[in-house]
């Protein structure tokens, strides 16, 4: 209906034609004839819309919202005849400056719309900004009519996912990536054949929301290079994609480029999960600067101490007030937006334990935000993955409120597997739990197996190659005297700290990487691989590369040929997982009969050694006797010897005339370490297998 009577101006301000807008939706929305602007502030006494011509130093207009344009605590206005692509907008708000009572209004500042769908100001990655810009992060207006054709969320079952965690820029920024537009959304498309060949069906993108790579930038004391906020765990705008990650960002087309990337990934069977950072913003603490929220409604958006200081549960200066009803709705609006407008398949929530704290910071038993997200209709088929801890000491792995919907980054999986891999004794019991999807953590709640996202490495910490090459972190280049980054790495350098020429050390490292890959990909739950681990990417011992926008953190694709045997091992293990439904076990809810009979073994069959000295453990998966699939699906037996000596393992007997065949044996040199699924090699000795020092074998009975 284009002839509505409320589509005509009622007011004017100079040359501008206006009328009262619609309070919902928040943000700037294209409507027939103009743009509807709507912004919330509970405590502002006055508000004006500030307009700039694209990239202009000074605004060309400032339009106050008259009283009749405010409904409740929402200022809204329709501005007619707007050349919407060539303007940038912000708000100026007046109100009390009274920090003790939580208010920090400053009418000198021009503020970014919290709901801005496009943000300009850092359009080209790493381009030095004009530090005198009076409004550095500017809202822009987006036409949201992308043509998705028949694309929709893929809804791959959680247990079938193989997640690949990547930094959009780091994935292809290195010259060896050989892409047309390095470090961009568009370049991910160039790598789709690679990802498919590897067997990946889900990308987890590190933050792609608008952030400022120049936040806290400084020069490295080691290299003299400028250090940037490369990872981007510090939000400027929750609704806007990072322009600097788009080859078309300089034309303001980052939204279309990201949407097209997701659409193309979906066409190729690959889901997209976004890493979202709702625990804090880039505005910092009392000494921080004004971008948006603190000038729009400080008391609503942030958790404040009774004295009006910022709580710092994030370790980044401030804490978003997630369980305030306004902020809760903003987060919900934001996630719904990414699902409806970007067709995103799921989210990983950074420091998610914060989302369960009340407005004073106390953990709640049934946090309204988490419950809302668990039951939201639009997010109904999304993957929701929590990083179930925060920087304020709340650790909720196994106890994060889930309502059967939330999964967790399983930090205990990482720690137990790493300790076992490096040869610590007494971990057989813990490892058996981890490999079964951690029922000790999740069964009490009758959670689905999708509760556990299993990982040994992620962006935070050592890469897999570094985990087997360094005993300690080497973060000097970060300029914090090596005091940043975790110290509990559970890593082992295999006998020499860092790169070395010793053939034995290097062989052992490769074997340990293969051991890790084998364990990860036979574990129940959802495996997550850190991008580059499949070809031995190193960060030279830096376990916190958040500020390293350079070759230290970028994937070096030349390693793909140098470490072809690692890559092949990952690829075959992923293929094996996909070919083995028993490894993608869907439920261990207490009242449901389990689908798979999992038995535990030691060097003698049916007799696992759970003692404090054990460094070996083995398991077998098969269908139950009564299950007709038992005759179709091969039995699987995995023996893990993390001791420095070889050990003989007695193999459990098979029925129906089946015989054991070797799929993988990390104790063998390439190409005898692994075969393609279906081509397993018959064992001469069906009773006994000598597993080499620090080695894993995977057998199939068929």
């Amino acid at each position: 209906m284009t002839n509505r009577i409320d589509l005509h101006p009622t007011h004017s301000h100079g040359e501008f034609k206006l009328r009262a807008g619609k309070p919902l939706p928040f943000g700037a929305t294209l409507v027939p004839g103009g743009v509807n602007f709507s912004v919330f502030s509970r405590y502002a006494t006055a508000c004006s819309l500030v307009l700039f011509k694209k990239h202009a130093a000074q605004p060309f207009a400032e339009i106050p919202f008259p009283r009749e344009f405010r409904t409740g605590n929402v200022f809204s206005m329709i501005l007619f005849d707007v050349d919407y692509e060539n303007i940038e907008y912000g708000y100026r708000m007046d109100g009390p400056y009274d920090p003790e009572n939580g208010h920090r209004f400053d009418k000198e500042k021009i503020l970014l719309d919290p709901y801005a769908k496009l943000v300009s100001g850092r359009d080209v990655w790493g381009k030095e900004p004009d530090w005198n810009n009076i409004f550095p992060h500017r809202g822009q207006i987006l036409a949201d009519d992308f043509d998705w054709e028949d694309d929709c969320q893929l809804e791959i079952p959680f247990e079938d996912l193989v997640i690949y965690e990547m930094h959009v820029r780091g994935f292809t920024a290195h010259a060896s990536a050989k892409v047309k537009h390095p470090g961009t959304f568009a370049a991910i498309r160039d790598k789709i054949p690679y990802l498919k060949d590897l067997g990946i069906n889900c990308l987890e993108l590190m933050p792609v929301h608008t952030f400022d790579e120049f936040e806290n930038s400084k020069l490295s004391p080691v290299t003299g290079e400028r250090l940037l906020n490369y990872w981007g765990y510090s939000n400027v705008g929750f609704f806007a994609p990072k322009a600097g990650f788009a080859a078309t960002g300089k034309f303001g087309m980052q939204a279309d480029e990201l949407k097209n990337t997701i659409k193309t990934l979906h066409k190729n069977g690959i889901e997209v999960i976004l890493d979202v950072v709702f625990n804090h913003t880039a505005e910092g603490n009392e000494r921080g600067h004004y971008i948006s929220y603190r000038g729009i409604d400080n008391k609503t958006y942030y958790m404040l101490t009774p004295e009006g200081y910022y709580y710092n549960f994030s370790g980044c200066g401030n804490t978003l007030n997630c369980n305030n009803p306004i902020v809760r709705n903003m987060i919900l609006d934001c996630l719904r937006y990414w699902v409806t407008d970007y067709h995103v398949d799921g989210f990983r929530f950074d420091l998610a334990a914060i989302l369960g704290r009340d407005q004073n910071g106390a953990p709640m038993s049934s946090p309204p935000l988490l419950e809302t997200l668990a039951f939201d209709p639009i997010l109904g088929k999304c993957k929701l993955i929590a990083e179930a801890w925060d920087a304020g000491g709340l650790y909720q792995v196994g106890s994060f409120p889930s309502w059967g919907r939330w999964a967790e980054w399983n930090g205990k999986y990482r720690d137990d597997l790493r300790k076992f891999l490096k040869g610590e004794p007494g971990l057989a019991g813990a490892v058996s739990q981890r490999i079964q999807g951690s029922p000790d953590l999740y069964q009490w709640e009758a959670r689905e197996n999708c509760a556990s996202v299993n990982f040994i490495t992620c962006h935070d910490g050592f890469t897999l190659m570094d985990m087997v090459s360094y005993n300690g972190k080497h973060n000097e280049a970060n300029g914090e005297n090596n005091s940043d980054g975790g110290n509990d790495n559970h890593s082992w350098n295999c006998g020499w700290e860092g790169p070395c020429d010793d053939k034995e050390v290097n062989r052992l490292r490769i074997r340990q990487i293969k051991n890790a890959a084998a364990m990860l990909l036979v574990s129940h739950g959802t495996p997550m691989i850190l991008a580059g681990d499949e070809f031995g990417n190193t960060q030279y011992g830096n376990n916190n590369a958040y500020c390293q926008d350079n070759e230290l953190s970028w994937l070096n694709w030349e390693q793909l040929s140098e470490n072809a045997e690692i890559h092949n091992f990952f690829r075959q293990m992923i293929a094996f997982r996909k070919a083995s439904p028993m490894l993608r076990y869907s439920s261990y809810a207490m009242n449901a009969a389990p689908d798979v009979e999992v038995s535990w073994h030691g060097t003698s069959a049916w007799n696992a050694d759970w003692s404090g000295a054990a460094r070996t453990v083995a398991f077998m998966c098969r269908r139950w006797q009564s299950d007709e699939r038992r005759t179709v699906e091969p039995d699987i037996y995995v023996a893990m010897n993390m001791h420095w000596d070889a050990h003989g393992f007695e193999l459990p007997g098979l029925d129906n005339g089946r015989r054991w065949h070797v799929f993988a044996n990390t104790g063998m040199e390439s190409p005898d370490d692994i075969v393609t699924p279906g081509n397993e090699i018959l064992l001469d000795n069906q009773q006994y297998f000598m597993v080499g020092p620090r080695s894993v074998i995977v057998l199939v009975g068929k």
Partner: protein, 114 residues
């Protein structure tokens, strides 16, 4: 922004000259719409298009949809490397047939007509 038209045989050649963005999009769309008649055959020559924005690409998409409902056909030619690249990365190129130059576009459009 200027919209020029010229008949070459049975093909109507439309040339866009200048910048196509939210400022020029409405007038350009109106002007191009006039060229759409049932069963028409258009060649869109973009060799003089200096810049195209997101709103500009949407105009082309809208015209394409109108053309389809009228049983018309069209093809693009003369794209600069940069514009071709933008269209590729933002997914717009998937909706259009693109030829390197006007002659190839005319040859193909005419050949398909007979």
């Amino acid at each position: 922004m200027e919209v020029k038209t010229q008949m070459k045989g049975k093909v109507n050649v439309i040339s866009l000259v200048g910048d196509l963005d939210s400022n020029t999009a409405p007038a350009t769309e109106a002007e191009m719409s006039k060229q759409i008649v049932a069963g028409c055959c258009l060649a869109l020559d973009l060799s003089k298009l200096r810049y195209i924005s997101s709103a500009g690409l949407r105009v082309l998409l809208m015209i394409g949809k109108q053309l389809k409902t009228q049983g018309g056909r069209w093809a693009f030619c003369g794209l600069s490397d940069e514009i071709a690249d933008i269209m590729e990365m933002t997914g717009f190129s998937g909706f259009f047939t693109v030829y390197p130059d006007l002659k190839t576009a005319l040859d193909n459009l005419s050949a398909n007509q007979e």
